[in-house]
Amino acid sequence: MITPVHYMLLSAALFIIGVVGVLVRKNIIIIFMSIELILNAVNINLVAFSAQLQNVVGQVFAVFVIAVAAAEAAVGLGIILAFYRNKETINIDEMNLMRS
């Protein structure tokens, strides 16, 4: 029997994988993909509770999360392109223009 706890554990594991990716990798494109993994983990939780409580509101919120993720990906990748054009790198260790 699959309970919501199973889905929460899966979601937590996916979230942790995303957090490790954000904190450990240096390639900023992979960091963005890790953020998408984190947002997917949130969506799995929302849909699991929506199915458990027989309430569609969770799925509506997941639709909003997907919309925000799309906006975030577009703007973030635009920033990456603009940065790459100026500095010829996508390594976050070299992104220290604001550091005094």
């Binding site: 899966l10 979230f15 942790i16 994988i17 904190l23 992979i30 990906a73 054009r85």
Partner: protein
């Protein structure tokens, strides 16, 4: 029983591909593993009875966002891999430590929720339509109309912002 087998298979695929996304050296391979990960998440949504969201997941994530990532990987022509540059100030172990702290926090929340189960939530107003897509659409255009419009404005602003950022000169 069949549901349990399907859940464990899909969960193993999701976690395995997520690990591959984070650990693969080649960025293009990483993006392709991300597509597979999104497709298995869509399969999980079908398992949970959220067919509309599964379709949105395939269309928007696996179809739209990943193509955007592939375009950026193609445009960012890397002469040297980003991992080649070694920063002496970088503390990777600290990153793993912070991730472990988040894991502990999630575990604490899970244990707390297990010890004190939440009160059952009251049922919301009945939705006069049946079917998953109809119900989601009904809620989007009645109770959540203003957030829906705000989301559309957000997408418009993000689109303009992405064009402005990516343009060579204004």
């Amino acid at each position: 029983m069949a549901q349990a087998i399907a859940f464990y298979f899909i969960a193993a695929c999701i976690l395995g591909f997520a690990v591959l996304v984070v650990t693969t050296r080649d960025t293009v391979h990483s993006v392709l593993f991300l597509v597979l990960d999104f497709l298995f998440v869509a399969a999980l949504y079908v398992l949970l009875g959220a067919q509309f969201l599964a379709a949105i997941q395939v269309l928007v994530y696996a179809g739209g966002i990943v193509v955007l990532y592939l375009f950026v990987v193609m445009l960012v022509n890397l002469k040297r891999p980003p991992e080649a540059h070694e920063d002496p100030h970088r503390r990777t172990k600290l990153g793993f430590g912070l991730a472990a702290a988040v894991l502990l926090e999630l575990g604490a929340i899970a244990v707390y929720g297990f010890v004190n189960p939440a009160a059952p939530v009251p049922a919301t107003a009945a939705i006069p339509v049946s079917g998953n897509t109809e119900q989601v659409g009904w809620l989007l255009y009645t109770s959540y109309l203003i957030p829906f419009e705000v989301a559309s404005m957000l997408l418009l602003v993000a689109m303009i912002g992405a064009i402005v950022l990516a343009k060579r000169e204004l």
